[in-house]
């Protein structure tokens, strides 16, 4: 902005400078946080390890994380569960959302139920889903998947239904005057104009799903996953446990961010017009 017009930088160089400049504030603030953390935890009797100790104590955990009980495999376990539960929630949620979006009777009929169920905290579903899948081969695993499903589906249903109702009159008028068939209306008008709303729901859903899985895995026994990993470290409480927990917590946050950005990015691809 303050560059002299006499020597215009090339577009790539300008872009590089822009990226570099955007990195300065986060780098400074993160460093300050780490420094403060290090200072607060540097006392000899401090129960919490400082960042330097965390890194030095978890090098082995990071490099050996791909063994069967390693941190990365457990993270992958959790991701797989979220993947299955979330995809099921997305498919069913969009289908139900479209159905109640186009049908006033069903919309009015199911609205109270949906409004109640959507506010239920994910963990409140855990006993029910555990009982529900008690007789299946992998009860803890399936209960976790169901928990993800039941947590993620509500925002997807609600946003899809709202999107269907928000279809601009311009488009429905075109459909009416052309007497579009149900299939043409669905594919040419309803889905494309509802997609932005669907992705809002999907994005809220993935956030909730990831929140839920960690908590669920902490509570259910024998399920594995990153939540169980954290809980195991907590109960064993060895010398390096807290460092491992901090690493795991940080990884959970990072994965959550990546999941959110992936769904957001997919949305921008589809919605880009």
């Amino acid at each position: 902005m303050t560059t002299a017009p006499a020597r215009p930088a090339s577009p790539t160089a300008e872009k590089a400078i822009e990226i570099f400049q955007s990195l300065i504030p986060p780098v400074i603030c993160s460093s300050a946080t780490l420094l403060l953390w290090q200072l607060l935890c540097s006392g000899a009797d401090s129960k919490m390890p400082g960042p330097i100790k965390v890194v030095s104590q978890t090098v082995g955990t990071i490099t050996g994380g791909f063994s069967e009980t390693g941190i990365w495999m457990q993270l992958l376990n959790s991701l797989t569960r979220v993947g299955i539960g979330y995809v099921a929630a997305a498919i069913l949620g969009i289908a139900i959302g479209v159905t109640i979006g186009v049908n006033k009777f069903l919309r009015d009929g199911f609205d109270p139920l949906i409004q109640i169920l959507r506010t239920v905290p994910p963990l409140a579903w855990l006993p029910i889903s555990t009982i529900l899948f008690l007789q299946t081969p992998k009860p803890a695993e399936n209960a976790g998947i169901f928990l993800i499903f039941i947590t993620a589906i509500w925002p997807i249903i609600i946003n899809t239904a709202v999107g269907v109702q928000q279809i601009p009159k311009d488009y429905t008028n075109v459909a009416k005057v052309l007497k579009l068939s149900g299939k043409d209306f669905l594919l040419s008008i309803l889905i494309p104009s509802t997609v932005p709303y669907i992705f809002t729901g999907l994005r809220i859903g993935i956030g909730l799903a990831w929140l839920a899985i960690v908590a669920a895995e902490m509570l259910s026994t024998g399920a594995g996953g990153i939540g169980a990993y954290i809980w195991n470290e907590y109960t064993s409480m060895l010398d390096d446990s807290i460092s491992k927990i901090i690493l795991a917590v940080f990884s959970v946050g990072l994965v959550g961010l990546v999941l959110d950005r992936i769904v957001g990015w997919l949305g921008s691809l589809v919605v880009a017009e």
Binding site: K176, S188, P192
Partner: protein, 277 residues
Amino acid sequence: MQTLTSPIEVTEKTMDKPFLVIDQVSKVYPTKTGDYIVLDGIDLSVKEGEFVCVIGHSGCGKSTLLDMVSGFNTPTSGQVLLNGKAITKPGPDRMVVFQNYCLLPWKTVYENVHLAVSSVFPEKSKAEQDEIVRSNLHMVGLDEAIDKKPGQISGGMKQRVSIARALSIRPEILILDEPFGALDAITKEELQEELLDIWEEHRITVMMITHDIDEALFLCDRLVMMSNGPSAKIGEILDIPFDRPRDRAVVMEDPRYIKLRNQALDFLYNRFAHHED
């Protein structure tokens, strides 16, 4: 006025019988403080191949009237008949060119027109449908923009797509709701001329709403002027006698043009002046 019959009436006697009949149409909306009468006993018949413009101040119910022809609205009393059949809902035989184009932004120009063609002519082969889409887009001069999305083209081009889409399904009557209202003056004149060329070629029945007296005088055979609402009626109908095909310069130099224009102005701004309240 009847001495100056339009060429259609001379050449095709069969077209004298009314094609679109608006018969004693009223529209009343009940409100808490009593009935709100939008339209009060509208009578109008339009011959096949006729170009009719409807003009009036905003709020005079002309859009409501048009909606009853397209089928988006129904009369409280009276009826609208096309070819003797009562209009009850929208259909492709009365295709609408909307003021705000109503193109689907996620479809290309080609796909927007193709959706209409494949929906109205599902029995036609893929090649036939493709030919209809391309020829109609060619007619409005959009060969180059065929693969563009509505967001990438100008307002004038969008309205051309909308006109091509409407004509591609061969409606019995073409309904235009202030189609050029959002366009700049030059584009507007271009599109008026194109619309007139297309009309000369197809002699399709047209009913068009406009705010623009000059546009109406240049385009139509009859100009329907509506009184102000509520309880709007047809105030006066002007026969527009200029020879076809019309040339804007010739029409505007015609002494009758000034006379008709003054008559319309007098109607709209003296007898039915619109008072903002």
